[in-house]
Subunit: 254 residues, 2 copies
């Protein structure tokens, strides 16, 4: 038996998210369909972070297991090319490698990094339109956003930033290591990036953090409000969920 | 009478090029339709560079004239917002200003800059797919491309790089000031940029230069071949025309 891991980038727009769903175009569905074609059996996969519909990924990691002999006579480079050829054009398998037996892209992850792009201004973005949230205002108070973000660092119950808890007794505690906000030029257009690093994330947690930070940046809320949101442990206390197309699952560290 | 100039960015994909054409979606058609709505008459526009179908622009400049009194009681900021609201989502009017009487976006331009993005590798690009030409090879010889590009600098007859000469007696001489080739990271993906600066350009000249440089970079031609192409003054001597989606009209200087 061999365990393999691939790093995968995808444009979120055409997909109903990562997780396979019958009758829907999903990233996992595409990867497993391709693996099924190549190995003539069902090959289940595990990913580092299940992204929602419309969310992009640059460095998603997906692991799967092959049976004795299935890798024989195949080069990893050729297998990677076949996966790229057999999957939707919005998916790119960037690398493929053999990893220690029993490796899980999900459970062995130490931390995950997401990046969210905002475009601020009266003029609509053009090239960044599919990859950013356009805020039609003159400016955002980035210092206020940084002040608000500070209380999120560390181990906390992030229930206020969680859209849906999958099981009643599941913990909503997570460890957030960094929330950085910086300007960047991409494709010739200016954007503001919110970079969030944490051990793991709840459903829609990054997008709810960004939506709440935007409320602060626009002056609708004071920076100190963020601590109240965190303490409330109630989704209704937080700001809006930022739109999916601004978010990219950037990388994962093992 | 007032002369105005706007800087316009657009995604080339949805448009049949810049120049207006009856019954087609074009950038000029959209801008003139919006101006027609705002001023209740035909307002002809002049651009710095007529881009082909699928070619993008970051800093296209478009000039037009308003009659006595048409600007009265209107702020430039509001006019700009109206233009953004009335045109296709793929167009963004970035700035609008009053310029000296008789200014022409076309005839007053001193030099123009185009950038062409290449993605090299076995893995398809994802985020850059709409904005680059994917070359499915392991590497390009950038030094050989730079050597080949050197002979293009200066005033030359670029007839070999011209798809169609619009009038029989029109000159095909142009002054190319720079052809730079450099690596860049955009949206997390690596690309190679060919930056071409010149006083003006012939039809499909940048794309034919890039297509020929790629022939050199892939090893299909020697660097010295570029001088032969230039000397031939015959379109059949040059390489392929690189696809439209990799090209962006970057800026123009007056």
């Amino acid at each position: 038996m061999s365990t393999l891991a691939m790093t995968v980038a995808y444009d979120g727009a055409p997909f109903c998210g990562f997780a396979r769903q019958p009758g829907q175009l999903t990233v996992q569905g595409e990867l497993e369909r391709a693996l099924g074609t190549l190995f003539a059996r069902e090959v289940p996969t595990v990913c580092a972070g299940r992204t929602d519909a419309g969310v992009h990924a640059l460095g998603q990691v997906v692991s799967f297991e092959l049976e004795e002999g299935e890798l024989e006579g195949r080069s990893l480079a050729k297998l990677q090319r076949s996966l790229n050829a057999l999957t939707h054009d919005g998916i790119s398998v960037r690398s493929l490698r053999v990893v220690p037996d029993g490796f899980s892209a999900r459970f062995d992850a130490k931390w995950r990094e997401y990046r969210y792009r905002l475009v601020v201004g009266q003029e609509p973005p053009v090239f960044l339109a599919p990859y950013a949230w356009w805020l039609r205002c003159d400016t955002l108070d980035v210092d206020a956003m940084r002040e608000a973000a500070a209380c999120l660092i560390g181990e906390h119950d992030f229930k206020s930033f969680c859209l849906a808890v999958s099981a009643v007794d599941k913990s909503t505690c997570r460890n957030v290591m960094a929330v950085d906000i910086f300007e960047e030029e991409q494709l010739g257009e200016r954007c503001l990036v919110v970079r969030v690093v944490g051990n793991a994330f709840l459903h829609s947690m990054v997008r709810t953090i960004v939506g709440s930070l935007v409320d602060v940046g626009c002056g609708r809320r004071e920076p100190a409000w963020m601590q109240e949101v965190l303490d409330a442990c109630d989704r209704r206390a937080a700001g809006q969920c930022a739109p999916a197309q601004g978010l990219t699952f950037w990388r994962v560290e093992y």
